[in-house]
């Protein structure tokens, strides 16, 4: 097995553990914003789509441009929509009175 591949597997494993530990602490109160936020973060796949659409390809350039462009549109709409709605939802959560729980 190649070394960088192994490194990637370690990264994946550690990230999964961090994910479990961090997200376990999110109160059920915020599970809907949690889902829309992780959805927006997941759209970081846009990075791969940008490179695909913009890079030079000796062959299959048309395919790469078209698929890459559609992929960017899909991911960007998730980023914009996801962050917007998460923030809108969180803005609505207010504590009662001055005392914080």
């Amino acid at each position: 097995m190649k070394l960088d591949l192994l490194t990637s597997l370690y990264v994946f494993m550690l990230a999964a553990f961090i994910g479990f530990e961090v997200i376990r602490r999110v109160s059920p109160l915020l599970h809907t914003p949690l889902m829309s936020l992780t959805n927006a973060l997941d759209a970081i796949a846009v990075v791969g789509a940008i490179i695909l659409a913009g890079e030079y390809h000796a062959h299959g350039a048309m395919l790469a441009r078209i698929l890459g462009t559609i992929a960017i549109v899909a991911a960007t709409s998730n980023i914009v929509g996801g962050f917007l709605i998460t923030d809108r939802m969180l803005k609505m959560f207010k504590a009662s009175g001055p005392k914080k729980p």
Binding site: L30, M35, A43, A49, I51, I72, F83, A95
Partner: protein
């Protein structure tokens, strides 16, 4: 790719910072007081990562990227401004978009790289494309059902699980062949097409009340497919974001399946919504006690402690703002009002909390099932609005009930139970609810919104 280590290092550093910001973003989301900071951190990380990527000097063509970014923003803004009641279908739609992105990028990588992709890359690419395609159609189907474009009723047929698992099996076998013999490129469309079909078939048997589990599961799939894409592209940032999303979806699915007393394997194999076909045949003919809005208002205003239990019926009737008025009217009279929220109430995890927060109910009054259940014995009135199965005491006592073992809100332990309901019809699962026949239960027949409105009027009229 030429060698300009300076720029490449800067790009890698933006990715590193973005990764840290993503993790902080989720960490800050743990409490409502810091949650908005979390969104900001996520936005900043995203902006950095995209800016860094655009610096990539391998990119020779910017026109399409810019057009796509603008177009995505134009589509994204209205998707960020939907009504709170439409959040479940919006979420399902965004899972579909995420999966579409991953599938398209994976497909392009295959045709650009095959038949010279390293074997491991081909394997992960197959996983990416299979998960991506099934999440794409599955999420579209879920969104369609939630938006009520598609019939919400589960459609089941004999041998459904065998057909579905068979489809998935064929896709996995084809993927295996491709990993072994990459030159058989003509097989590739099968590992896109079959999962696309599987995604549709997977959602067909699922009814509305199972949606929270399904959305969580699709969330997890979307995350895992993005992580797989990270392996293909060797992008640590993507691997981490995908793993975080996958973990989040998995935690939520496990929560939801626990809250519905389904085993986790039951969830994983998409076999939901099928067990309850054998609903008990005997119709209960026992008498129930009903009450008018005036009587209900009198009892509520005499109470010290009231717990309101909302369900999806409240959202359907758009009653949450009237419920807020009720909350205000009772609080003004010194009644302690809290809300008891079952994890699967609504159409996605946490849906009820968002709807009630939108109606300006303070979040510290919204309590999770485990936190509120101990309070019911000291509660004067438990008011159930549009919830049914999650309050069914048969889940605790009747081993023959299809929902036996499902954790419920113990409203039957309150001194008085009031249930607002249109008629005596059974709930989603078609199961009789013995709660309605208890001596301490008062049925309030009517539309949730107008009934709560009448109670509020009675309370207002009786006071000033």
């Amino acid at each position: 790719m030429s060698n300009l280590p300076g720029v490449e290092t800067i790009i890698e550093i933006t990715y590193l910072i973005a990764t840290a910001l993503f993790i902080l973003s989720l960490k800050w989301l743990s409490s409502p007081t810091t949650a908005r900071r979390g969104v900001f951190a996520g936005e900043l990380g995203m902006l950095l990562a995209i800016a860094g990527t655009l610096l990539h000097h391998g990119i020779v063509e910017y026109r399409w990227i810019v057009i796509a970014l603008v177009l995505g923003t134009i589509i994204g803004v209205p998707l960020g401004e939907v009504a709170m009641t439409a959040v479940p279908q919006r979420t399902a739609l965004s899972h579909a978009f995420g999966a579409l992105c991953v599938t398209l990028v994976g497909t392009a990588h295959f045709y650009l790289g095959a038949p010279n992709l390293p074997r491991f890359t081909m394997g992960v690419l197959a996983l990416e494309v299979i998960l991506g395609s099934l999440t794409f159609t599955g999420s579209l189907m879920a969104a369609g059902k939630l938006q009520e474009i598609l019939p919400q009723r589960p459609i089941t047929y004999k041998g459904q699980n065998i057909v579905n698992l068979g489809l998935l099996g064929v896709a996995v076998v084809v993927a295996g062949i491709l990993v072994a013999h990459q030159e058989k490129m003509q097989l590739f469309p099968l590992i896109v097409g079959i999962p696309l079909l599987f995604g549709v078939m997977m959602i067909i048997p699922i009814g509305g009340a199972d949606m929270p589990t399904v959305i969580s599961l699709l969330n997890s799939y979307a995350g895992l497919s993005a992580a797989a894409m990270g392996f293909v592209l060797d992008s640590k940032l993507l691997i981490i974001a995908g793993a975080l999303d996958g973990a989040s979806g998995l935690i939520l699915s496990v929560n939801m399946s626990k809250a519905m007393n389904r085993s986790f394997s039951n969830v994983l194999f998409g076999a939901f919504g099928q067990e309850q076909t054998a609903a008990a045949g005997q119709k209960d003919m026992r008498p129930v006690r009903s009450a008018t809005a005036e009587e209900a208002a009198a009892i509520l205003s005499a109470a010290n402690k009231v717990v309101i239990v909302p369900g999806y019926g409240m959202a359907v009737a758009q009653a949450q703002h009237k419920v807020r008025e009720l909350y205000d009217a009772l609080t003004k009279r010194g009644v302690d009002v809290k809300f008891g929220i079952h994890p699967v109430a609504g159409r996605m995890p946490g849906h009820m909390n968002v709807l009630l927060a939108e109606a300006d109910i303070p979040y510290d009054k919204l309590l999770d099932m485990d936190d509120i259940n101990g309070d019911f014995p000291q509660t004067d009135v438990a008011l159930v609005i549009g919830a049914n199965d999650v309050t069914n005491p048969a889940a605790r006592t009747d081993a023959s009930s299809p929902i036996f073992g499902m954790p419920i809100l113990d409203v039957d332990k309150a001194r008085t139970v009031m249930v607002i309901k249109r008629s005596m019809g059974a709930g989603f699962a078609g199961i009789e609810n013995p709660l309605y026949y208890l001596d301490r239960t008062l049925m309030l027949f009517g539309d949730a919104k107008s009934f709560v409105g009448s109670i509020v009027r009675e309370l207002g009229g009786g006071h000033e």
